[in-house]
């Protein structure tokens, strides 16, 4: 995390740190696709995880060695590092419903 060059702490809640969602977005370069993915992700988080999430953006062109760790093939990919288990959604995240299912966001948000 410390190594990431692009780091945006969008919001930090004052509750237990374990409840904070850690999301990592893998992109290659600032393409329209990556920008769109980031925008979509941010919107979703704002809607469902207000103040309880942290997004880290990893540019694989700058840090190719990080691709192996999370088994990244497709770009863009968003990985839910916390809470475990790890979940992965690939694509520009334009299909909100699928992202919610993929990150298990709706259920977690409701059961809170």
């Amino acid at each position: 995390m410390k190594k990431t060059t692009v780091r945006r702490k969008v919001a930090v809640s004052k509750r237990k740190p374990s409840k904070i969602w850690q999301l990592r977005l893998y992109i290659t370069d600032q393409t329209p696709k990556s920008r769109m993915a980031f925008a979509n992700l941010k919107t979703l988080c704002e809607t469902h995880l207000k103040d309880r999430y942290r997004i880290t953006v990893v540019d694989l062109l700058k840090q190719p060695q990080l691709a192996k760790g999370d088994q990244i093939l497709a770009v863009p990919t968003v990985v839910r590092k916390l809470p475990s288990p790890m979940r992965t959604v690939i694509g520009n995240l334009s299909d909100t419903e699928r992202v919610l299912v993929g990150l298990d966001l709706r259920w977690s948000a409701q059961s809170r």
Partner: protein, 585 residues
């Protein structure tokens, strides 16, 4: 595809090749895989795709100083390392020395959700990073088709794969991509569409309960290549493909002759034995002594200091040495000294091709001067007739090319009729020695004769051969009015003849004595007659003398009386001169 086509036409002059280092494969492909291009290796489960790819990489790193990247989609690094370690590849060591990078790519479909557009740039980044980190020249993608199961959007995947192969070409790496064999196409997901430079098909099929692996170069753009199916095996040191259908008849021949270990058999072959490097067929019904003659041949060669490789498909090495010991052939010391090596295997152990491959390997390793195959027939039975003949042809071809003398024994199924396969096989052989049983007088005896021996004067005689505890002895069979006599009949005939000779000898001696006696008698008679004659002649002389004397005396007396009577002197003078001759006699 379009870019592929454009590329290959621009480099139409001569395709640079990248040696795979895999035994035999480079021969088939005329030097290796197309350098800087992707090659597709496809085949069903368990036919050795991953192994071939891994060997390509390992040999490249170890032998040709070409580092490589292995992107594994199915097996983890640990699994891969363990798998290829059994073939003597030290993948771990190569990884540590930064000759090889293994990247295990894994996507669990259940953990991945798809939402909107994406591409596989991540894969490109990973591969590019791996290539750049060690300056890789070779890349293996094993098996990239797994992605079709992991990623739901096939359209994206296809376009990305097409981009990937083009990208690999642009990178200038020689890539091997493995793919699962499809039902109707070469690969299940039609990867052959994207990889058009070289396609190698592997196959593992069961024929008559015996499985054999085959390799075929389906396509090799811009290069000549062997198009046949070549059997290959996965041995203790990797894959070896056998490009063994080269049927050129231009091997060198030797004028040197080698003894068979049986002096009388050598004598039948112009006194010197077989030609070095020739192929010899030894046929016979069961129990005619084929193995024994083979063992004799082996022993003779090993004693000359030559290496002998004995392929036995019916007996174990121990069994052969024990059995040969009973006839005075001691093979153990030769085995111990390393000159004689046995290779025993059941014919049904694996297919004909595999047998051939194993034999080739053994021969290449051991470099024998003499190879014995005992018997070739049981080996040929594990395939069809044409397969069997093809196999023998290739084997002989290979042996002759290496100037190895080969002895094949062949079992005939009783009787005198030669089998069809045998007749077919015989045309490949330079010499053919036939062993046969002769039955008669309540016993069975062995005979042998030389049916053919190319390029040398050979005996047309049938010889009997005896097996005793001192080895093999070849003797003349008796050929008389009643045909060929062997065994005790021959012995009986011999003693009969001996008796007859003795009898006639005795008779002659008798006759001689008789004649001598007659001559003695005759001479005695002659002597008698002569003495008779001499006696008579003497008598005659005596009488004549008496007559003479008497006449003289008479004359003298008459003259005296004449003087006394004073008769005329003339008469007296005449009568006086007459008795002189009588007196002189």
């Amino acid at each position: 595809m379009k870019t592929n086509g454009a590329k290959s036409s621009s480099t139409a002059t001569r395709l640079p090749k990248c040696p795979s280092g895999i035994q035999g494969l480079d021969e088939i492909t005329g030097g290796g895989l197309p350098r800087g291009r992707p090659t597709l290796v496809c085949g069903g489960a368990g036919c050795g795709k991953t192994l071939l790819a891994a060997e390509f990489l390992v040999r490249g790193a170890a032998q040709f100083d070409e580092p490589g990247v292995l992107m594994a989609f199915e097996e983890t690094e640990k699994e891969l390392t363990a798998n290829v370690a059994s073939l003597g590849f030290d993948l771990d060591g190569l990884v540590r020395r930064k000759k090889i990078v293994i990247d295990y790519v894994h996507i669990e479909r259940s953990e991945v959700q798809e939402s909107g557009e994406y591409d596989l740039e991540g894969l490109f980044v990973r591969l590019g990073h791996a290539i750049d980190s060690i300056g890789a020249k070779r890349v293996v993608l094993d098996t990239i088709e797994v992605l079709f199961a992991s990623l739901p959007n096939e359209a994206i995947l296809r376009s990305e794969l097409r981009r990937l192969f083009r990208w690999l070409k642009d990178k200038g790496v020689t890539a091997v991509i493995t793919a699962e064999r499809g039902r109707e196409s070469l690969t299940r997901h039609g990867l052959e569409e994207y990889v058009s430079d070289c396609v190698i098909l592997l196959d593992h099929r069961v024929n008559d309960q015996i499985a054999t692996r085959h390799l075929r170069v389906v396509k090799y753009r811009g290069a000549l290549h062997g198009t046949n199916e070549f059997p290959f095996l996965i041995g203790a040191d990797g894959i070896s493909v056998l490009p063994i259908t080269s049927l050129s008849l231009n091997h060198k021949v030797s004028g040197e002759r080698i003894a068979t270990g049986i002096p009388r058999l050598d004598a039948m072959l112009g006194g010197k034995g077989f030609f070095r490097g020739s192929s010899i067929l030894l046929t016979g019904t069961p129990g005619t002594g084929k193995t024994i003659i083979s063992a004799n041949f082996a022993q003779a060669a090993a004693r000359r200091g030559e290496r002998v490789l004995f392929f036995s498909f019916e007996e174990s090495p121990d069994q052969i040495t024990r059995n040969m010991h009973s006839i005075g052939l001691r093979l153990e010391p030769l085995v111990k000294s390393g000159l004689l090596r046995f290779h025993s295997a059941r014919p049904s152990l694996y297919g004909l091709e595999m047998h051939l491959a194993t034999m080739f390997k053994e021969i290449t390793e051991f470099k024998p001067h003499v190879v014995i195959i005992d018997p070739i027939t049981s080996l040929m039975d594990s395939g069809t007739d044409s397969e069997g003949k093809g196999m023998v042809t290739r084997l002989i071809d290979f042996l002759k090319a290496n100037q190895v003398t080969s002895l094949f024994t062949s079992l005939t199924q009783g009787g005198h009729a030669l089998q069809q396969s045998e007749t077919a096989m015989s045309s490949l052989m330079d010499a053919w020695v036939l062993l046969q049983d002769f039955e008669g007088n309540g016993e069975r005896n062995r005979v042998l004769y030389v049916l053919k021996a190319r390029g040398m004067a050979h005996s047309n005689q049938i010889r009997e051969f005896l097996i005793s505890d001192r080895g093999i002895d070849v003797v003349d069979a008796y050929i008389g009015a009643s045909g060929v006599l062997t065994g005790s009949a021959r012995a009986a005939q011999f003693s009969l003849e001996k008796a007859a000779v003795l009898a006639s000898q005795q008779e002659a001696a008798q006759l001689k004595r008789e004649v001598e006696r007659k001559r003695g008698a005759l001479e005695r008679q002659i002597g008698d007659l002569r003495s008779d004659y001499e006696a008579e002649a003497m008598e005659l002389r005596r009488i004549a003398e008496q007559v003479g004397t008497r006449t003289f005396v008479l004359g003298t007396e008459r003259a005296a009386s004449g003087i006394l009577r004073q008769a005329d002197l003339k008469v007296a003078a005449n009568t006086q001169s007459k008795p002189k001759p009588g007196g002189s006699t």
